[in-house]
Point group: C2
Chain length 135, copies 2
Amino acid sequence: MGAAAYARLRDAGLRPTRQRLELASLLFDGHPRGRHVTAEMLFAEARADGARVSLATVYNTLNQFTGAGLLREVVVEPGTSHFDTNTGDHHHLYFEDSGELRDVDADRIEIKGLPPIPRGAEVARVDVIVRLRRK
Amino acid sequence: MGAAAYARLRDAGLRPTRQRLELASLLFDGHPRGRHVTAEMLFAEARADGARVSLATVYNTLNQFTGAGLLREVVVEPGTSHFDTNTGDHHHLYFEDSGELRDVDADRIEIKGLPPIPRGAEVARVDVIVRLRRK
DNA sequence: CAATAGTTTAGAATAACTCTAAACTGCTGC
DNA sequence: GCAGCAGTTTAGAGTTATTCTAAACTATTG
Ligand SMILES: [Mn+2]
Ligand SMILES: [Mn+2]
Ligand SMILES: [Zn+2]
Ligand SMILES: [Zn+2]
């Protein structure tokens, strides 16, 4: 069950501890389409799953995974970070009412007319967020 | 000096108090190109200007101005909201190192390939954020 | 299996706000 | 002009998301 998680941590150079394995498993196993979670969401899920993990470790782990390129952080609202298991180039639909994030593949999208990048700077990433509300 | 600020508050249906006039003045007067401020930034600026305002009022005022359409809120990093005096349709360049936000006019930009809007939802706004780092 | 570097964790600390309730002030009407 | 009141301000307490601390634990290596 945790074989994929184990390999993932190894490849990322992260020591495969019980907590990291559990969290990686929850995040990645059986979720081919990618997930978007907050620290609290993942913490609740881990607890519900019977895992013994602290909230501090969930935060630490999410940040470490992000640093290692296993996750990416998406900021759509003040006050809470969302972590995204889809690290490929993509954008988001954000449902303001429910807080749901849905992926939009980047190569279906074309952005024209972006200004020239200032000298000495480079593009780290381009985020497109389509904010939706109930009609 | 505060005539423009006075009219602006009046038109927005906000009672022109000393604090609101001062903050509106700092935000809008002599800044035709628009500004991006955090609550702490505006608070410091007001204090430096000799204004007697509390931080709570700065927050209240920024939220009220936003509600009234005089400002808009931009979220680029977890933990802090930026308020934007440019309420027109536009996007942003975000310098990750310095935290600076720079406007990108929306009608210079064209976004193609956005997915269909789900039934029952409507687009509240589309945010494009080009994140830049030092090369 | 010992040694140790890396990890986890409870609880304290911080940062960015928001709330409360009391004091104050911009309008309105007289 | 001023009373009266709704709307506003504010100090300080409270909240929430997140990070820090430093002590206890564990994966890895020899
Ligand atoms: Mn972070
Ligand atoms: Mn707000
Ligand atoms: Zn995503
Ligand atoms: Zn702007």
